[in-house]
């Protein structure tokens, strides 16, 4: 996720200072992802270094001076480029569950079925929450942006749960072809 480009997008609507950018980002763009000040000022510094934004110092009485940022022509160009080009899909392959399964398979003292069951429980509980939040948001007439964010979370969890099912299928298949005692049968 590019905070920098999100900032360019917000500044394309008009000049803002750092704190306003943080708030706008959280309220209008990604309510699920609060930014810390390091991210806010780090992103602004880099944008400024690359000539994509510039700032003007506003002197205030009794309060610290504040920097108001505005987007440059180069910034508008970069924003346009970002919007029109495909993002690299995030695959999240540095996956904790995957690692647990890989370790469990090597050690053999915990059944992968047990790992899968506990991972399934965790993801399903999460999906239960997101599903209920989605229902609630829909019933309360929340805007389409929030509904879609919750849908994104739900679809991801759904895909992950399907992948857990696939893991189980392939482990079972493997156990059958190897003819070892992994598949329990009374």
């Amino acid at each position: 996720m590019s905070v920098k480009h999100a900032f360019l997008g917000l500044l394309a609507e008009g000049p803002l200072h750092g704190y306003e950018l943080k708030l706008s980002f959280e309220e209008r763009l990604l309510p699920s992802s609060p930014l810390n000040y390091g991210q806010v000022y780090g992103s602004l510094e880099r944008l400024e270094r690359d000539g994509l934004v510039e700032h003007e110092v506003i002197v205030q009485e009794e309060r610290p001076d504040k920097k108001v940022y505005r987007i440059t022509a180069a910034g508008l160009g970069e924003l346009d480029r970002w919007l029109r080009n495909p993002s690299v899909p995030a695959l999240d392959l540095r996956n904790e569950t995957f690692l647990k399964l890989a370790v469990a398979r090597r050690l053999g003292d915990i059944d992968t079925a047990e790992v899968l069951a506990s991972e399934r429980r965790g993801s399903l509980r999460r999906l239960r929450e997101v599903t209920e939040a989605r229902r609630q948001a829909g019933a309360e007439g929340k805007g389409v942006q929030l509904l879609l964010l919750l849908d994104l979370a739900a679809f991801r969890l759904e895909a992950f749960l399907k992948w857990l099912e696939r893991c189980e299928e392939l482990f079972d298949q493997e156990a059958t072809t190897n003819g070892n005692g992994n598949a329990e049968d009374a």
């Binding site: 399903l124 509980r125 999906l127 209920e132 939040a133 929340k142 299928e169």
Partner: protein
């Protein structure tokens, strides 16, 4: 705070259980061709619970649902619905129980094509001796409840899949059964229509205090339920309590952890 209602699950003894499945085995056929569809299943479904049943194809989900619905009898073990042991009932009594206390929803809707939506819903009541006028009044109320009162006069072929399934749910609810059994009710629907059906079933549990047992292949379906059990090779392999959801604000505040 309109939609999240706190519901305390009742304890799972005989009196508060909607369904008790004890040591149930089901064998189809005999000799070499015998198939053991259920190999010793124990499940207690408390009243007012929404239970999802998942599991690979052939794991015995539909078989379980049929046995609980009294459509078939187990080879071994007992099944109680609303405190009644199904084995103690004659076929006629079982028919009555199915008509009055259990509502069925299937993947392929099973509506009668020559009847209108209202007639499909009213039919089971009339079969049970309810007078026509009253049966149609109740059918209308039931169609209203599932949000398709405006489609009452349409035949199934004139309705979308999602609408047909809602008619089927209206039919399942019309006798005000204590238990709804649904076998892949969203299996034949796209995701939007499927979500409406899941919402309806969720409301049935939240508002009507009815009990729902739903077979599903869809994780989103399972995540609408309070609990999910997973069948594998005719046995309960997993049993997960999913709990009640937090508020929207709370969920949003930790949504990002999803990316762990």
């Amino acid at each position: 705070m309109a939609t999240v209602t706190q519901r305390m699950p009742e304890t799972t003894d005989g009196g508060t259980a909607a369904v008790v499945v004890k040591g149930v085995r089901k064998v189809f056929g005999t000799g070499e061709t015998a198939v053991e569809a259920l190999r010793g299943v124990d499940i207690v479904v408390p009243k007012g619970e929404f239970l999802a049943v998942m599991g690979p194809s052939g794991s015995g989900k539909s078989t379980l649902l049929h046995l609980v619905g009294g459509l078939d009898r187990p080879t071994e073990g007992t099944i109680e619905v609303g405190g009644q042991d199904l084995a103690s009932l004659s076929d006629d009594e079982l028919t009555l129980l199915r008509r009055r206390r259990i509502g069925f929803v299937f993947q392929f809707f099973n509506l009668l094509p020559i009847l209108s939506a209202a007639e499909n819903v009213a039919l089971p009541l009339m079969v049970d001796g309810v007078r026509e006028k009253q049966a149609f009044e109740r059918a209308a109320a039931s169609l209203e409840r599932v949000g398709i009162a405006g489609r009452s006069a349409h035949r199934p072929t004139e309705l979308s899949g999602g609408e047909q399934q809602r008619v089927a749910i209206a039919r399942a609810l019309v006798a005000e059964p204590v238990l709804i059994l649904a076998d892949e009710p969203t299996g034949n629907l796209d995701s939007a229509a499927g979500e409406q059906v899941l919402d309806l079933l969720r409301n049935v549990v939240d508002e009507g205090a009815q009990t729902v047992l739903m077979v599903t292949h869809d994780p989103r379906g399972a995540a609408t339920a309070d609990r999910m059990i997973m069948l594998k090779d005719g046995r309960v392999a997993e049993d997960h309590e999913l709990g009640r959801a937090a508020s929207l604000a709370e969920v949003l505040s930790h949504l990002e952890e999803l990316e762990g």
